[in-house]
């Protein structure tokens, strides 16, 4: 029976040489939603995607994708899934159309069936004019769009996207976002990983923040903000900001963090803090609502991940 849950993972674990990469992951994704997996580099996002696709075997845990047990029946599940990988792996020897043709064959589609889908796919990727262009002549944004079109060749129900807009310029990113919203509106379920908070906030109905192989918070973007952080943020800049923060910030902010010459103050009510800041003309400041990036930094810390 087709259920409303397209993917469910329970207590999924994976270690490499004693190093835990995914540690007890629970995930449930509903049909038609756009689900985002957020996390800093090395949080285990890509390994999670590979586990979900049945490309690597978990050490423990249970996993169902489109009513198939994975990895045992991963082949059947992948027939109905499309994947946009993090790094482009288009065939450089082929044209745009040939890439789609060859990829469709991997799903067991007849050449006739693929040819019939080609105009729609090229139109969707805005590549109709590049049909016979070879891959090395395409721009980065075009390659991404071709990779997205390729992931749709088998008309999948679920689409996995691993950092779909990393490395793209703003125009190209917006175009990809628009296409992903279109797919979602057509009823496709999307699972994407990203470390761009604006991307997650714009696209995703639900998010899970991952760090060190675990999901540390889950919910809609708004829920994540409400649950994890004060609603107002005042950023204070300038060379005196840190000194000011040490002596004054705690009186007016629930919480504050110093990062270089910037101070991030998190407050329920910003007015007392803003009045205080007006006493210090040498300090510049910015008052804004809390966003997902604040949540992300609070949950995963400010130190670099390399």
């Amino acid at each position: 029976m087709e259920t409303n849950t397209v993917l469910s993972a329970r207590n999924l674990r994976k270690s490499y040489g004693g190093q835990m990469v995914v540690g007890g992951l629970n995930l449930s994704i509903r049909r038609g939603e756009c689900f985002g997996l957020l996390g800093p580099n090395g949080a285990g996002k890509t390994t999670t995607l590979r586990l979900l696709l049945g490309l690597i075997e978990p050490d423990a845990g249970e996993l169902q994708l489109l009513d198939h047990a994975v990895p045992e029946q991963a082949r059947g599940a992948r027939l109905r899934v499309g994947v946009v990988p993090q790094m482009d792996n288009l065939d450089p020897d082929f044209t745009v159309a040939e890439n789609l043709l060859v990829y469709g064959r991997y799903f067991g589609m007849s050449d006739k069936a693929i040819e019939a889908r080609l105009p729609e796919l090229l139109e969707f990727a805005n590549l109709a004019h590049k049909r016979d262009a070879r891959v090395p002549t395409l721009s980065g944004g075009m390659k991404r769009r071709l990779t997205l079109a390729r992931a749709l060749v088998n008309d999948p129900e679920v689409i996995f996207l691993d950092e779909p807009t990393t490395g793209l310029d703003p125009q190209a990113r917006h175009m990809i976002w628009q296409r992903l919203r279109e797919l979602n509106a057509r009823g496709k379920t999307l699972l994407l990983t990203t470390h761009f908070m604006d991307e997650a906030e714009r696209l995703c109905h639900r998010l899970a923040v991952m760090d060190n192989g675990r999901i540390i918070s889950e919910g809609s973007p708004r829920e994540l903000i409400e649950r994890n952080i004060e609603p107002q943020v005042v950023e204070v800049f300038g060379e005196h900001a840190a000194a000011w923060a040490q002596s004054h910030a705690a009186q007016h902010a629930q919480r504050f963090e110093v990062s270089g010459e910037s101070v991030f103050c998190y407050v329920d009510d910003a007015q007392p803090l803003l009045r205080e800041l007006q006493q210090h003309p040498q300090l510049r400041y910015l008052h804004r609502p809390a966003n997902l990036e604040d949540v992300f930094l609070k949950l995963t810390g400010r130190e670099m991940r390399e």
């Binding site: 490309l55 020897d93 060859v102």
Partner: protein, 261 residues
């Protein structure tokens, strides 16, 4: 290493679209590829066969160029499969990430590795047919038995593709393949009777020669070119097939380990 890495290969016909993909790439460069398959053996056979052969009496009971022709068929088919499995296979696995793209479809790693072997053997088949055409054109053999060189080329291709993929599975980069060509392929060419009869070797090296796959290929090819049904032909074919199956299994285990990282 997980015990699942040691599972027996599970094959399906899904390897066919990968073969077609490789064929589509090959078609775009077919001219230079066919030229390579023809030029190399022709240069060897004419240069060594007539040049060196002119100074020699009969070798192994035949003119030297005819002796060399049998070695060249096997040597060329071995090389075709080896280069394809090592350099091109590594490019598809590592550099172009073609395998990664394919693995996101219903195709499994077992299918991919099998497709690599069949594809590399297809290149050997083409190479074998090219050399055979040269042999006929030069009038080096008129025996209908030479047609058996066509399936033999395929078998030699399967054997050396499988062995080559073991190297591909453990290679950190292209430079690594130099070990294989210098330490395995080149000694094999000298030990297995491509250029001179194996019985010219000291006894110890003859023993080594007897276990090398290229020797068994040449023991089949040379009589066929001489219009003789090879002695122990089932045994020689079985050895080549055995190497192919063992190489397939070992390389698959190593690829499973490599790609599960």
């Amino acid at each position: 290493m997980s015990k699942n890495h040691f599972a027996l290969p599970r094959l399906s016909f899904r390897f066919v679209p990968i073969w077609r993909r490789n064929f589509m790439v090959w078609k775009k460069m077919a001219g230079s590829s066919i030229l390579g398959h023809l030029a190399d053996p022709v240069i060897y056979m004419l240069g060594l066969g007539y040049g060196l052969g002119g100074m020699l009496p009969e070798v192994g009971g035949m003119p030297y160029i005819a002796f060399l022709a049998a070695g060249t068929v096997c040597y060329s088919t071995m090389n075709s499969a080896s280069f394809e499995a090592l350099y091109s296979g590594f490019a598809r696995m590592h550099e172009q990430r073609t395998w990664e793209a394919i693995l996101n479809t219903p195709i499994t790693l077992d299918d991919i590795v099998f497709s690599e072997i069949v594809w590399a053997a297809s290149k050997s088949l083409l190479s074998g047919i090219a050399v055979l055409a040269v042999i006929w054109l030069l009038g080096l053999s008129h025996s209908p038995l030479t047609l058996w060189l066509i399936p033999l080329s395929l078998l030699v291709g399967l054997c050396f593709a499988s062995l080559g993929l073991i190297m591909t599975a453990i290679a950190p980069g292209y430079d690594f393949f130099m070990y294989y060509f210098t330490l395995v392929i080149t000694p094999m060419v000298l030990l297995c009777g491509v250029f001179f009869p194996v019985d010219q070797l000291p006894p110890l090296l003859q023993t080594v020669s007897a276990i090398l796959p290229l020797t068994h290929a040449i023991d089949l090819a040379r009589p066929l070119l001489n219009d003789v049904i090879p002695a122990h032909f089932l045994w020689h074919a079985a050895v080549l097939l055995g190497y192919a199956l063992a190489g397939f299994y070992v390389s698959l285990v190593l690829f499973r380990r490599r790609l599960s990282q």
